[in-house]
Every structure is written in structure tokens, then in C-alpha cells.
């Protein structure tokens, strides 16, 4: 519990003059599932891209296994990325390859393994997500949930130390959601990988997460274990957990007073 695989230290990040994070620190403990939650549009995906080194923070530092990601050379960064993998919201399967080739892709790119070994590995990974029978289908023939499971098989192909899930439950039916929850939990335990789950699906993630961060208004507004979060007395956290329409996060987009606008002549 004390060892952190990813250590985000006081980062500030802004895009197009809009501040997205203001002095945020997050610790991701090794071998655990950490959930990062928050309302839509606060840049949760951005956090994963920062960890993956696709974006560089304005201030602060991000350490992966003790090494600073933003300060890495390009070559070193690519080397480090082999130890992490990311499950994108859309799955991001390569549309011009079959499911099998998608999963085999990283193995073929980064390992000198023979085709027969790759076949064994790929089929095992597909078996783990229950899609061995779909190996020869093209991504366009898969349902959304299956595509995400195939992408998950691809993400674990190189046995990474860190898997980042970007909104794994968004737009899924209850059955697929249940399957994914079970898979994330099982993979985390079986492979003892570190997982980061970015989501706004509260109930699913609270079941599996060992530790939870809630982001809102450019800050971390609460963190702790699932129980600690549920028992939190922060109004903001409670509004988020219970899905109340109005509260500290206002229902209305900031605007001038209604009566002033209606009676005045400016739009």
C-alpha cells in the first residue's frame, strides 16, 4: 500500500487558456484499483494522457515507477510506455485488422516471438476476456461491449504493469457493464497489475475500487477508500455520489440574473 506506481505531484494543466487542473496531487498505489471520478467535462481523460506522456503538464511532475514522465526523452518515453497500456473509451481497435491481429499487434511490434507463440498468447488473452470464438471477426462486426473486451485483451497483451481504463462503462448495457466490472477486478487480482479507472459510473466502480479520487472544479474534492468516500461529509462529494441535480455543482451554466436578461435588451 505504501508503494506508489504513479505519483502525480502538484500539477497544473491548462488547455486553450482554460485551466483544467490547478495544483492537483494523486497517488496511485501499486497493485490496486484506483478510481478517478468526477462530472463529465472536467478532463478525466486528460489525466490519463498526462500519465501516458501524450500531454505535458504546465507545472508539477508525474512520476512513473520513480521516473519523471514529462522529463523523459522521446525514446525513453516509448520504452516506458511498453509497461503501461490504456483502454480507450471507444476501444480504438484498428479497424483494418481482425480481432486476432489487433491483440497480436503489440506482440508483433515489440517482441521477437515466433508466430506460433504469438498465436498461443493471443488465444489465451482472448480466452481471458471470453472472446476466443470471435478471433477472426473484424472490429466492425463486434458489439460495443465486445469491442471493449477485445481492446482489453489487446491492452493486456504485453502484460503491462499499469492499465488505464478510460470510461470503461460508458454507454454499456447492464450485462456488458457487469462483465467489464468482473473482468477489471479479475485481471487486477490475477495479474496483480495496477489499474486506474476513470469513470462517472459511481456504483460500479465503488464496488471494485480500492481507492477513490473525486475531481471537480479543477481540484481533488475528496479521496479515500470506498467506505470513506461514502461516509464523506463534503456536500460536493455527496451530490456527485447521489446524482442530485443541483447543489455545489450548479444546475445552471453561469449566467446573468434571469429577470435582468429578460427585461433588458441584451441577449
Amino acid at each position: 500500500m505504501t508503494e506508489n506506481l504513479v505519483d502525480i505531484q502538484n500539477i497544473t494543466f491548462s488547455r486553450a487558456n482554460r485551466i483544467i487542473y490547478d495544483d492537483i496531487s494523486i497517488q496511485i498505489p501499486k497493485g490496486k484499483i484506483t478510481a478517478i471520478m468526477g462530472p463529465s467535462g472536467i478532463g478525466k481523460t486528460t489525466m490519463l494522457r498526462l500519465i501516458g506522456g501524450q500531454l505535458i503538464p504546465d507545472q508539477g511532475d508525474i512520476k512513473f515507477a520513480g521516473e519523471s514522465i514529462p522529463k523523459m526523452s522521446r525514446k525513453h518515453l516509448y520504452q516506458t510506455r511498453k509497461a503501461m497500456s490504456m483502454l480507450f473509451q471507444s476501444g480504438a481497435l484498428f479497424t483494418d485488422m481482425s480481432v486476432f491481429d489487433n491483440v497480436a499487434f503489440a506482440l508483433r511490434e515489440h517482441t521477437p516471438l515466433s508466430e506460433s507463440v504469438i498465436k498461443t498468447l493471443v488465444l489465451l488473452k482472448l480466452e481471458a476476456v471470453g472472446l476466443r470464438g470471435a478471433a477472426n471477426l473484424m472490429p466492425s462486426e463486434l458489439s460495443g461491449g465486445m469491442a471493449r473486451r477485445a481492446a482489453l485483451a489487446r491492452a493486456i497483451a504485453l502484460d503491462p504493469e499499469l492499465i488505464m481504463y478510460d470510461e470503461p462503462f460508458a454507454g454499456q448495457d447492464p450485462i456488458s457493464m457487469g462483465v467489464l466490472v468482473k473482468l477489471i477486478k479479475a485481471l487486477s487480482e490475477a495479474l496483480s497489475v495496477t489499474s486506474i479507472v476513470v469513470t462517472h459510473d459511481v456504483s460500479e466502480v465503488l464496488d471494485i475500487a480500492d481507492y477513490v479520487y473525486i475531481l471537480a472544479n479543477k481540484k481533488v474534492i475528496g479521496h479515500g477508500t470506498a467506505e470513506q468516500i461514502k461516509a464523506s461529509d463534503s456536500k460536493l462529494v455527496q451530490q456527485f455520489l447521489q446524482g442530485q441535480a443541483d447543489g455545489p455543482v450548479p444546475f445552471h451554466y453561469p449566467a446573468t440574473d434571469l429577470s435582468t436578461q429578460l427585461l433588458g435588451d441584451s441577449l
Binding site: 501516458g52 516509448y78 520504452q79 497500456s85 480507450f88 473509451q89 471507444s90 480504438a92 479497424t95 503489440a106
Partner: protein
């Protein structure tokens, strides 16, 4: 004052996108060639080259035929229908071959490249490659750039050749120009270095420009459906304008001072 600000902002924007385009190209092409990449390039030559072959063959044939028909009606008035051969051959080799091929290529393969790469960006496939420690510039962009640069001159040569045959079909077989004079006066007039090689050089320049624009527009597209459709249109418009403008410059350099 506002419009001055606008002009300044637009200029800076344009310069910035040129910079990004240049970085993309150098990032993609400055690399040690690998066997794997040659196979990927081959795959892309199939997509951009072979799949454009039909439209090139059909348009080349018809343009050659139309030129023979039009040229014949004018030349026959001077009793110079024997010059039909060089007229068809020179127009095709110097101008129409490279230019029309580039325009058709921009419409057929260029727009497809933009849409494909734009979609790969929108569906996070490019990001996904990056996270899998595979450089999308080398894996996705480089093979397509090479395939475009290799394919288009090949298509232009085929276009000119089929056009000359089309001219023969109409001029000789239908309108009765003497076959011997069609070929021999053509041979007496057309020069390998001056006409054929210059045409190929033009085509290579167009290939670089069109492929570059197409791939950059996809790579730089706003990753939404609106952004991609806009980028696809821009590819066709920009590369057509670039081809026609460059054609004038190249023609002036090659044939103007003589």
C-alpha cells in the same frame, strides 16, 4: 484596427500549420527503413495506387480520344493532320498526364487518405498506437507518404501511354490519319529528356504535394465528424490549387526559358 489583428492571427495560424506539417513529414520520413515498413508501404501502394488505376485508365483513354477528335478537326483545316500524333503526345506527356493524374489522385486517393487518418484520430487509434509505444508517424503516416510518392508518377506514365493509344484509336482507326505518320512525326518531335522526363519530374513534385496535404489534413483534423468532412474537402481544394499553381511554375522553369 480589428481587421489588422485578424490578418495577423490568420498569418500566424497559417505559419503554425506549415510548421506542424513540416514536423509531421520529417518525423515520418527521417527513419531507418525497415523490412516491415516496406511491406506496409506495399500494402498502401495497393490502396492508393492500384485502386486508383481504373479511374486513371478510363480518364486517360477518353482524354486521349477527345484530344484526337478536337485536334483533328482543327489540324485538317491546314492539311496538317499528320501532326496529330505530336499534338496528342506532347499535351499528354508535358501537361495533361501529370496534372490530370494529380487532380484525380487528389479526389480519389487523397480524400480517402484524409478521411482514413482523420477517422483513426477520431476513434483514438492514433493515440492508442502511441500508448502501445508505436510511433504513428512511422507506422501510419510514413508508409502512406511513400506509397503516394511512388504511385502517382506510375499512374501518370500509364495515363499518358493510354491517352496516346486512345488518340491513335480515334485519329488513326476512326478518322483515317495514316498510322505511320501518327507515330513517326510523334517520334521526330517528342524528346525523352525534355518531354517525358520533365513530365515525370512534374508528377513526382505533384505526388509529394498532394500526398503531404492529404495526410497532414487528416492528421491535423479536428477529430469530429464535422472536422473530418471539412478536412476532406480542404484536401481536394488545396491540393488541386497547389497542383495547378505549381504546374505553372514548373512549366515556366522547364519550358519557358528556351
Amino acid at each position: 484596427m480589428n481587421w489588422v489583428v485578424q490578418v495577423g492571427a490568420n498569418t500566424l495560424d497559417t505559419i503554425r500549420s506549415f510548421g506542424r506539417a513540416f514536423l509531421m513529414l520529417t518525423g515520418a520520413l527521417i527513419a531507418v527503413p525497415q523490412l516491415k515498413n516496406i511491406r506496409l508501404t506495399l500494402q498502401q501502394i495497393y490502396v492508393v495506387g492500384v485502386q486508383s488505376l481504373l479511374i486513371i485508365l478510363v480518364s486517360g483513354l477518353f482524354i486521349g480520344m477527345v484530344m484526337a477528335l478536337q485536334g483533328y478537326t482543327i489540324l485538317v483545316g491546314y492539311g496538317a493532320e499528320g501532326s496529330l500524333g505530336p499534338m496528342v503526345a506532347l499535351s499528354l506527356l508535358r501537361e495533361l498526364g501529370p496534372v490530370v493524374t494529380a487532380l484525380l489522385f487528389a479526389g480519389r486517393a487523397g480524400s480517402a487518405l484524409t478521411a482514413e487518418i482523420g477517422l483513426m484520430k477520431a476513434t483514438e487509434q492514433l493515440s492508442s498506437l502511441e500508448m502501445m509505444a508505436v510511433d504513428p508517424l512511422r507506422r501510419v503516416v510514413a508508409p502512406r507518404v511513400w506509397a503516394g510518392i511512388i504511385s502517382m508518377p506510375m499512374l501518370a506514365i500509364i495515363f499518358s501511354a493510354i491517352g496516346i493509344l486512345g488518340g491513335h484509336l480515334v485519329g488513326v482507326d476512326w478518322l483515317g490519319v495514316d498510322s505511320g505518320s501518327y507515330w513517326s512525326i510523334m517520334q521526330a518531335t517528342v524528346d525523352w529528356n525534355k518531354d517525358v522526363v520533365n513530365g515525370i519530374i512534374k508528377s513526382i513534385v505533384f505526388a509529394i504535394v498532394v500526398t503531404w496535404i492529404a495526410i497532414f489534413k487528416g492528421y491535423d483534423a479536428v477529430p469530429t465528424s464535422e472536422g473530418i468532412s471539412q478536412a476532406t474537402t480542404q484536401t481536394v481544394v488545396y491540393s488541386s490549387l497547389a497542383v495547378l499553381g505549381l504546374d505553372f511554375v514548373l512549366t515556366a522553369l522547364m519550358f519557358g526559358i528556351n
